[in-house]
């Protein structure tokens, strides 16, 4: 119903998955090498639980759950998911109402609209993304083992980023 090659079916628009932006978890690591992700095309609606053993790009609609813990899940700009997603990495460009669990990372692109909770050791929310919910980074004891957030320099746990020469008195303002 939603495997690769669905785009050959009459009446189903091209469902070529968007190429993950460079640097994204989906682009950096592909568990199947050059194998392409399975695609749920824009005209497809699935109600129920989606499981599998390959990467998945969602351009259509899913109501239920998506569980691909060893693989990457992308929700394309037209994708709409009313479900929780469990995957190795989750990249959202479309709309999700549900919780996102990433074993490695969750990335909300600038076009993302997400209502739910995010749980992953690395979470990136790009400017422009509309997000309402919670972000759980894990237990405090494991924070030190986590990679720093994307585009940020590493910081030691429990230590605020340093700012040399910060000795201004109250009421002072930078000019």
């Amino acid at each position: 119903m939603w495997k690769k090659g669905d785009s050959d079916e009459p009446g189903v628009p091209d469902t070529t998955p968007p190429r993950p932006p460079a640097g994204s978890p989906a682009a950096d690591r592909s568990p199947r090498g050059a194998r392409e992700a399975a695609i749920i095309g824009p005209s497809i609606t699935i109600r129920g639980d989606v499981t599998g053993d390959e990467d998945l790009t969602i351009q259509g609609r899913i109501e239920g759950t998506v569980t691909l813990k060893q693989h990457n899940v992308s929700v394309g700009p037209e994708g709409r998911v009313d479900a929780s997603i469990h995957a190795r990495s989750v990249v959202v460009e479309g709309e999700v109402k549900g919780d996102l669990h990433g074993e490695e990372a969750v990335v909300l692109r600038k076009t993302a609209r997400v209502q739910g909770n995010v749980q992953a050791p690395r979470v990136t929310v790009e400017d422009g993304a509309r997000f309402r919910g919670g972000i759980d980074m894990g237990e405090p004891s494991t924070v030190a083992d986590k990679a720093p957030a994307v585009r940020r320099e590493p910081a030691k746990v429990g230590e605020m980023p340093p700012r040399p020469g910060s000795t201004a008195a109250p009421g002072d303002a930078r000019t």
Partner: protein, 212 residues
């Protein structure tokens, strides 16, 4: 146009109705933010509630130490966020207790009843010792919509340009703010040169101890 007390970062100015580019705006030192993050509040694993929009830099900064970060954007007036009772719906699913709440400048966009209701809700979401950080523009005018603030570091905020025009600012002197923050004690406030006063309030203590 430059005013005393700020420096501009980025060359772009958003056109009317457009989203300002990340990194564009006025950069100001924030003694309030520094105070809010000091001490035990910003310890590893703490719980933070951000009542502004999801800003990439803020998420990256806060998740360096926060074990849990909740985002409930009350500044999105288009969706009834700050105005009316929008905050009730936005905070309906928030689960406390939080150690740090970033209220930003939302309070000035609510009437007294709404503001009191919001503060009461925040009180229920925080335990004793939790810190509330907010800003009030003490000038005659303020942007028509709540500003978007970008945390540059623990004592620097970038005020992103608001392409929404100016409106008359409500008169909220420190004593009124302290009263509005019932259930919190104003631990410190800092009047900055650009006319914004930053407040750091602590929950669970009702005495008014106003500094500066």
């Amino acid at each position: 146009m430059s005013r005393p007390g700020h420096r501009e970062s980025g060359a772009t100015t958003a056109a009317d109705g457009a989203q300002p580019a990340p990194g564009a705006g006025e950069e100001h030192r924030s003694l309030g933010l520094k105070a809010a993050l000091a001490g035990r509040v910003a310890r590893p694993g703490c719980r933070v509630l951000d009542l502004g929009p999801a800003v990439e830099a803020n998420v990256a900064f806060l998740t360096r130490f926060a074990g849990h970060l909740s985002i409930a954007d009350l500044s999105d007036s288009d969706s009834g966020g700050a105005g009316g009772q929008g905050w009730r719906e936005r905070l309906a699913t928030a689960v406390g207790p939080y150690d740090l709440v970033l209220l930003w400048d939302i309070l000035a966009y609510l009437d007294r009843t709404q503001a009191s209701g919001l503060v009461g809700r925040l009180r229920s979401l925080t335990g004793p010792g939790a810190v509330l950080f907010l800003l009030i523009n003490e000038g005659a005018e303020m942007p028509a919509r709540p500003r978007v603030f970008e945390i540059r570091d623990e004592e620097t905020l970038l005020y992103r340009p608001c392409p929404c025009g100016l409106i008359a600012a409500p008169r909220l002197p420190p004593a009124d703010v302290a009263r509005l923050l019932a259930g919190f004690r104003v631990d410190a406030s800092y009047l900055l040169r650009h006319g914004v006063r930053e407040y750091v309030a602590v929950s669970g203590q009702c005495d008014v101890d106003h500094n500066s």
